[in-house]
Amino acid sequence: MILQTIINGLLIGGIYGLATIGFSMVWGVMGIINLAHGAYIMLGAYIAYVVSARLGIEPFLVVPLAMALLFVLGYLIQAWMLNRVLKTSLLLSLALTFGINLILVDLMVIGFTSDFQAVTTRYAAAALEWGDAFVPAARLGACLFALVLAWIFHEYLARTRSGQAILAAALDREVSRLMGINPSRVYALTAGAGAALAGAAGVLSSMIFPVSPHMGNSFLGAVFVITVLGGIGSLGGAILAGFVYGLIQSFASAWLGVNYQEVVAFTVFLLILIFRPQGLLGKKYFGEGQ
């Protein structure tokens, strides 16, 4: 029984980690808290629903399409709206992204009604066996896919020129211009990448959770906790914390019952905020915003 709880926790933890990377990056790089990040995940799930459920295409293949569409959406929202907030006060990003979230969710309610949809895969029932525990193939695939995407994004930031430009713009917007970096474009690029990762997480989670316009908001609570637990702006931290959060939830629901999942998660969250705000792998000097 313990083994099954651990497996469930780890598998869902991978998805949570991928869902959080974009949010943590946007906060770490630009100091913006994107309350619409949950909506990006929801949109990714709907893209999977429309393409696979209606056109019969394998959900995993939908990931690149969802990432591309969400990249464009994230890029435009940042370039048109959020970049202006950077010039005023960053805490306005909370109010502004709350408004954007309202818009996106309501649009989907109008388009697809609020009832739940499901995204099924041919191998939905397939599962590997490990001892007396089951490892559902779809969840395992989703979790591994999430780790691969996270690793690629981490290498992009650490190794490539435009990745370093993103980190530089995060630390000092004015001086990064002196280096020849155009912060507005870099921020839009970061926001686009963050949205794309959220879209990928959306597609992967559509195979596990029921799809509805309001699914994004339930993700948001988890994303908050994992971001701060992992350390703001830290990709490795988000992945590690994703697994930790997955395990906490899995054990909380196993021992205390499903509805205590959230309460335990938030209590852990408030404790982290108070005693170790820099999180597990928080990088010094990042996340302080300019």
Binding site: Q164, A168, E174, R177, G180, N182
Partner: protein
């Protein structure tokens, strides 16, 4: 024909005017100082030259051609700045900061050569090259900031308040290194300084700014002898 030509520069912050009709000229290979009281507008002039601030009137030309509007493009034209307070990318290492200095350059091999050249100017930085810039002392940060600006292979280096908050012995060393680079490679340098004595000692020519207006300019040696300047600035 001068490298940098500034004519009739007016700059405003909001509604209050900060610079009135400034003229300034820097020849290739000159080491020029810009001194003046705090709040005289020295940093504003530098920020206008680098494009971080837009002037309301006046022209800026570099190598005879007008400068592009954005700061991002002026570094490509060959203007690099060491900002006041150094402002390194604290969360990145020394070598990452230096590489970011060469962000606009495409020639990989030349960038690597320049990296070693910077470490030759500042050997202290060489052995702690992977240390976070935020963990360095003031003097080390200043060296790294100068190195970062040099990495963009500029033709004009602007240095803002190099001595602020540094021990005199460190300031002497950095002034010496700047002088050396200027002579060895003919790199034009504009130094903005609070420490008037230091500025006039290390520069060929100097401009003196007083509440946004140019009040004096000329060879540094001559300015040091002028009684009014000694009284106002050198406290002799």
């Amino acid at each position: 024909m001068s490298l940098l030509q500034v004519q009739g520069l007016d700059v405003f912050y909001g509604e209050s005017q900060v610079l009135w009709g400034l003229d300034l000229e820097i020849g290739a290979g000159d080491l020029v100082a810009l001194v003046g009281a705090n709040g005289a507008g020295k940093t504003t002039l530098l920020k206008t030259v680098t494009g971080l601030v837009r002037q309301r009137a006046g022209t800026l030309s570099f190598d005879g051609t007008p400068l592009p509007a954005g700061a991002e493009d002026r570094v490509r034209a060959g203007i690099a700045m060491v900002p006041e307070g150094r402002r390194l990318f604290a969360g990145l290492s020394i070598v990452e900061n230096l590489r970011l200095g060469a962000y606009v350059r495409k020639d990989r091999a030349a960038v690597e050569r320049d990296l070693e050249r910077v470490f030759s100017f500042f050997p202290e930085l060489a052995e702690m090259r992977s240390r976070l810039a935020g963990d360095l002392s003031g003097g080390q940060q200043q060296m790294c900031a100068i190195g970062r600006a040099l990495m963009s292979a500029p033709r004009l280096l602007l240095v803002d308040e190099m001595s602020l908050g540094l021990a005199p012995v460190v300031v002497d060393r950095l002034a010496g290194t700047l002088r050396e680079i200027n002579r060895a490679e003919g790199l034009a340098v504009l130094v903005v300084e609070q420490d008037v004595e230091l500025a006039l000692e290390m520069s060929d020519r100097a401009y003196i700014l007083e509440t946004g207006r140019m009040v004096a300019s000329g060879p540094s040696q001559a300015l040091r002898e002028r009684a009014d300047i000694r009284a106002a600035f050198l406290g002799a």
